[in-house]
């Protein structure tokens, strides 16, 4: 341990909700997309599930909203170091979409893609079982464009770069295929509790 002379750090609040190396962003919600925020109206938004599924399908705004509503209330963690506690996202569980599309037995991974072309790869098991959502509300209001509105993926148990903004679809695969940040040196899975920030962590 290399102790930094004179460094005490902020007051220690033992917070079991804070993964290693993270700090509490409190009221801030930094925007960290690496590309231009797209002008995407709800009427132009679609979400498609394809790849290794029995029934590839595309939902438009109204069709997605017709699925059973589901919300995530809890914490989110960004690889740059901040965590945000007690957020509320409203939308639909990804399970509801997958139940319709029916993943093939061979499907093990997925690539989530944005309407901008951004991608993120995830093991399929991280997207099922009530652990992932397609959301269009934040704190009861429409999701702001710079935070991924009109709709984004939310996979809150992984670092937030996996939660693709302006979500356009997910493609199921029988292998892992690096997404945007994963191809730029970031970890393939990104579990904040194991501090999987970069490839090799």
């Amino acid at each position: 341990m290399n102790v930094t002379r004179g460094f005490t750090g902020r007051a220690r609040e033992h917070d079991p909700g804070l993964p290693p190396g993270q700090y509490d962003a409190r009221d801030d919600w930094p925007v960290l997309s690496a590309e231009v925020t797209p002008d995407l109206a709800p009427a132009d938004w679609t979400f498609r599930v394809d790849g290794l599924v029995e029934r590839p399908r595309t939902w438009d705004w109204d069709a997605a909203h017709a699925l059973p509503a589901s919300a995530y209330e809890g914490d989110i963690h960004c690889v740059t170091g901040w965590s945000k506690f007690g957020v509320r996202f409203g939308g639909v569980s990804l399970d509801a979409f997958l139940d319709v599309a029916r993943p093939a037995a061979a499907a093990t991974h997925a690539v989530a893609r944005s309407h901008t072309g951004y991608t993120a790869n995830l093991p399929l098991t991280d997207l099922t079982g009530g652990r992932a959502w397609i959301v269009w509300e934040y704190g009861g209001e429409p999701l702001p464009a710079e935070h991924g509105g009109p709709a984004r993926l939310v996979v809150p148990h992984l670092y937030f770069w996996k939660s693709a903004k302006w979500i356009a679809g997910i493609t199921l695969l029988d292998h892992d295929e690096p997404g945007f940040w994963e191809g730029n040196g970031y970890h393939a899975r990104g579990n904040p509790w194991e501090e999987q920030r970069y490839a090799g962590d």
Binding site: N2, T8, G9, P30, D50, A63, T80
Partner: protein, 254 residues
């Protein structure tokens, strides 16, 4: 629900591809850095020179992760852009703004002195890197100028001929980081205060027009760095002025 007839948009692709392959080993290894020099840049920003003997080398625009450790084992880590150009000096430089109540920047600005040691890992991420190969248009605000300055310094140190232009926005001339080092390649914009005769206000399309008019035959690769407000504003101005969205790379504070 409705089944629409929309077809998928083809195979997944990256909107803005990364520039370089990154070293997994450099990314995952912490090493000790020794502070060798502190230089004040503005009332709120200072440059910290670090000796990192086993530094793997970086490209302009890359960043690193930095860790401070308290006596009880508590650590705080942050990402910072690298200000210095790549060289073989065994040193790198960071320029840090003093953030109000900043846990890490506060230590640098009030406690740090030459001889202190900290931990660093990197360089990280190839997305915002500029290898010096393509014409680049750099747009930064506040300490967002830091990774862009690494590009300017690299361009000068290597005597590169590839076109490079920069626009920097600062609150006032006193708050303009690297003011004495900026040359004819740089357009300066002051948002709060400026000497008599110099306009004050945020970046407008009129600032960008002459830069975009100088567009080389294959176009500019745009690198935008600053607060989210600046990044949103400037990236929209660029798109409206005809810069392709997939040739705008954005690094936002946070």
């Amino acid at each position: 629900m409705t089944e629409t007839t929309t077809t998928p948009g083809g195979a997944p692709r990256f909107a803005v591809p990364g520039r370089i392959a990154v070293s997994e080993q450099a990314e995952s290894t912490w090493q000790t850095a020794t502070l060798t020099e502190i230089r004040r840049e503005t009332p709120h920003a200072a440059t910290f020179r670090l000796a990192v003997p086993r530094w793997a080398g970086h490209l302009p625009g890359q960043h690193l992760m930095l860790r401070l450790t308290a006596r009880d084992g508590y650590t705080a880590q942050r990402h910072y852009s690298i200000a210095s150009a790549p060289d073989d000096s065994g040193h790198i430089e960071l320029t840090l703004d003093r953030v109000p109540d900043g846990e890490v920047s506060g230590w640098f600005h009030t406690v740090a002195r030459p001889g202190d040691t900290i931990d660093v890992r990197g360089p990280l991420s190839g997305f915002f890197a500029w290898p010096g190969d393509r014409p680049a248009l750099l747009l930064g605000a506040g300490s967002g100028v830091v990774p862009l300055m690494s590009m300017i310094r690299h361009h000068r140190a290597r005597g590169l001929a590839v076109p490079l232009r920069m626009l920097v926005s600062a609150r006032s001339p006193e708050e303009l980081i690297y003011a004495a080092e900026l040359g004819a390649e740089t357009t300066r914009v002051f948002t709060r205060g400026a000497p008599a005769g110099v306009p004050v206000g945020r970046v407008t399309a009129a600032h960008l027009a002459p830069l975009l008019a100088e567009r080389p035959p294959d176009g500019w690769e745009a690198y935008v760095c600053g607060s989210n407000g600046f990044a949103e504003h400037v990236s929209r101005l660029l798109v409206r002025a005809g810069q392709p969205a997939d040739r705008i790379r954005i690094e936002r504070f946070g």
